[in-house]
Amino acid sequence: MHPPEVQAALAEAGRRHWRRNVVFSVVLLCLWAAVGLGCGVLFADALDEYSLGGFPLGFWFAQQGSILVFVVLILVYALGMAVLDRVHRRERRQIVDANGQTPEAGR
């Protein structure tokens, strides 16, 4: 068990990690909503003015584009969370190591 002040620092690090996690997820979910519900449904009629490789754009988003974007979003999430997890583990190690240099830690 770590001493109380280290426990508190670790808990604070945990909260920081969680906040970063939530912000990251919310950003990705905004993209999810903007593409799936936005481009695919809400603005589909307006986007049909433009065309992409023989598709009306709104129709393409509804039947192709949104699915492609969904796959990419989960890929970015898995990659990004691996980075956030690594940052968090480093922070934790630093807190514990810093504590290890104090004489009490050896008890």
Partner: protein, 599 residues
């Protein structure tokens, strides 16, 4: 070799493969039985999740459905893939970190409430039974259509197969058979579509072919479809919100309800319990959607090609000019032609319903239809003096147009592919149905043996006892599912809407709140679930069975789960300030779920 001989070869060899895989993966403890020993690699779990998720409906019916409603078909494409984003970002990693066996486990432990566990348990059972009955039916239909075996016999064969490999290997056996089933179903779907794309547009990639020009006329395929649809009295293929019943509100709500419902389906969620750690859960979310997207990006192309092919090869043709596949499938009643006397087939949409001559038998009995056909022949022979014009009868019975499943079933024949590819479709349809059925049966078994018996009734039950009960529960569930498949209640199609609505309005909100709010206690969570279920359930029951008008913004029953989810969240948030919050232990549980693992 004939198509039927090939079909026997494919079906029997894939069945042998599934049994062999299950035998290799047999298990001896509950850990292996429920979560495959948590040793499934992320990519294999992705494939298994894809097979688990893609049901007989995705494989056989979805392309046909898109083909008939055009743009609005995107609702199913976006809904059933978009849900995986929610699942991968909001639920999968946290539930994996929590690390028990089932969804009711998390609900019960997080909210420290037996009532919450019980409500979740009942929902899981209801959703799974609804779904599995449709899968067994799908197995029977594939047998009946391709091997000319009776539907009942087909279902019994399917039951026996699932029974053996699910009881033997539990989750582990199911996982590895699902991996095999994924490859069978994806190749069966994609190969014919590539062939059709090359024939029609010259592009080997169907997703590009769909936006290309037709080789025969030089006109763009989608533009041709828009023009043909308009000319024949259908809504335009690509224009949004034109098909009847699919205005903007309905498209939005249905897409959202399917997305949220997908994220709340227990048989998909439990797949994420089978991987090694949290990071593997995130990656298997990616692989799952990647493998699903291979089919879901191909289905709309298949829909567009089949739409063109059906109109082009049937409309305006005489009996001699009709293609061979018309003959094959008209014998099964999936497509029938009642002529108006000019000897030319006319396929027309809702706006020219009185001129349409193409129908399906649907739910009519064979004798009823024979009667309609005989009366129609009299009507034709007498020049309208005697008999009855059968077309009016079929139109008012909502049986205009061919059965939607026919598009996928007849795809290889449309492209004039070799007999063995046609047989591959049968094996693919069976793989899709069986993989989904086995995943659902496992949820049923673990709900009964783990959540109900072990966690609620007899916590002192021994490991061996629990394993035996799990196997028995799967056996009983297979039999019930088979019986419901053989004697389907007339409402199977609507019941699936019910399953999604329920998952959207109960599981999704309660799981998200459980992870993302430290404070929420049992009372707001349970009240939210009950309110969501009550709202969604009463709306679907009312509008589908009791003729209540669609009083909530005219939303169709499939889409009401989106509103039900909001009701659930709303009630939970409203009650939160007035109710007891989560205990210290529950808050510690939330903290541990949020904390990434040590390396």
């Amino acid at each position: 070799m004939s198509v039927q001989a090939w079909t026997f070869v494919f079906v029997l060899s894939t069945f042998a493969l599934y049994l062999f895989v299950a035998w290799r993966a047999r298990v001896r403890d509950t850990h292996g039985f429920y979560v495959a020993g948590r040793g499934v690699p992320a990519i294999a779990n992705g494939m298994a999740t894809a097979a688990d998720w893609m049901s007989a409906a995705s494989f056989l019916s979805m392309a046909g459905l898109i083909s008939s409603i055009g743009y609005a078909g995107g609702v199913y494409l976006m809904g059933w893939t978009g849900g995986f984003v929610l699942l991968a970002l909001l639920l999968a990693p946290y539930l994996r970190k929590f690390g028990h066996f089932t969804v009711p486990d998390f609900v019960g432990d997080r909210f420290e409430s037996k009532v919450a566990r019980l409500v979740a348990l009942v929902c899981a059972l209801f959703i799974s039974f609804t779904y599995v009955a449709g899968q067994m039916r799908g197995v029977g239909i594939v047998f009946a259509r391709f091997l000319e075996v009776d539907v009942t016999v087909g279902i019994v064969i399917g039951m026996a197969l699932v029974f053996v490999y699910a009881t033997l290997g539990g989750m582990k056996g199911i996982t590895w058979t699902q991996v095999a089933q994924y490859w069978v179903l994806i190749s069966a779907f994609v190969i014919p579509v590539i062939a059709i794309s090359m024939r029609l547009t010259g592009a080997a990639v169907p997703q590009i072919g769909m936006g290309s020009d037709l080789q025969s006329t030089g006109e763009a395929l989608l533009k041709t479809l828009d023009d043909l649809n308009r000319e024949l009295g259908f809504a335009s293929y690509t224009t949004p919100f034109e098909a009847s019943g699919w205005d903007k509100v309905n498209v939005l709500c249905t897409a959202l309800a399917l997305m949220v419902g997908t994220a709340g389906l227990p048989h998909v969620i439990v797949r994420f319990y089978t991987v090694k750690n949290v990071q593997a859960a995130r990656w298997s979310g990616f692989w799952a959607l990647f493998f699903i997207a291979l089919l879901y990006l191909t289905a709309p192309a298949a829909a567009a090609f089949a739409r063109y092919y059906v109109i082009h090869s049937l409309d305006g043709k005489t009996a001699q000019e009709l293609p061979g596949w018309y003959e094959t499938w008209s014998r099964t009643g999936l497509i029938v032609w009642l002529d108006d006397g000019d000897g030319k087939l006319e396929y027309r949409g809702p706006e020219k319903a009185s001129e349409n001559e193409l129908f399906r038998i649907g739910t009519l009995s064979a004798t009823d239809f024979a009667d309609i056909r005989a009366q129609h022949q009299r009507w034709l022979d007498s020049g309208g003096e005697l008999g009855v014009d059968g077309r009016d009868k079929l139109t008012t019975s909502k049986l205009a147009g061919p059965d939607l499943d026919i598009l996928v079933l007849a795809m290889p024949e449309m492209a004039e592919l070799a007999a063995w590819i046609i047989a591959l479709i049968a094996a693919g349809g069976l793989a899709a149905a069986l993989s989904t059925a086995s995943g659902l049966l496992l949820v049923i078994s673990s709900s009964v043996a783990h959540d109900l018996y072990y966690r609620m009734l007899r916590p002192q039950a021994s490991e061996a006892e629990r394993l035996k009960l799990s196997r028995t529960a799967i056996g009983v569930a297979v039999v019930i599912a088979g019986v419901v498949g053989i004697y389907p209640p007339g409402f199977v199609a609507q019941v699936v809407a019910f399953a999604f609505g329920l998952a959207a309005s109960s599981f999704f909100p309660v799981l998200v709140l459980g992870v993302f709010s430290r404070r929420i206690g049992a009372v707001p969570a349970v009240a939210g679930m009950v309110a969501g279920i009550a709202f969604t359930g009463s709306y679907i029951l009312g509008t589908v069975y009791f003729g209540v008008p669609r009083w909530c913004f005219g939303i169709r029953p499939e889409g009401i789960g989106a509103v039900g989810m909001l009701v659930n969240f709303g009630v939970a948030f409203a009650l939160m300030p007035f109710c007891k919050g989560a205990s210290e232990a529950a808050q510690a549980l939330v903290d541990s779920v949020r904390e990434p693992e040590e390396e």
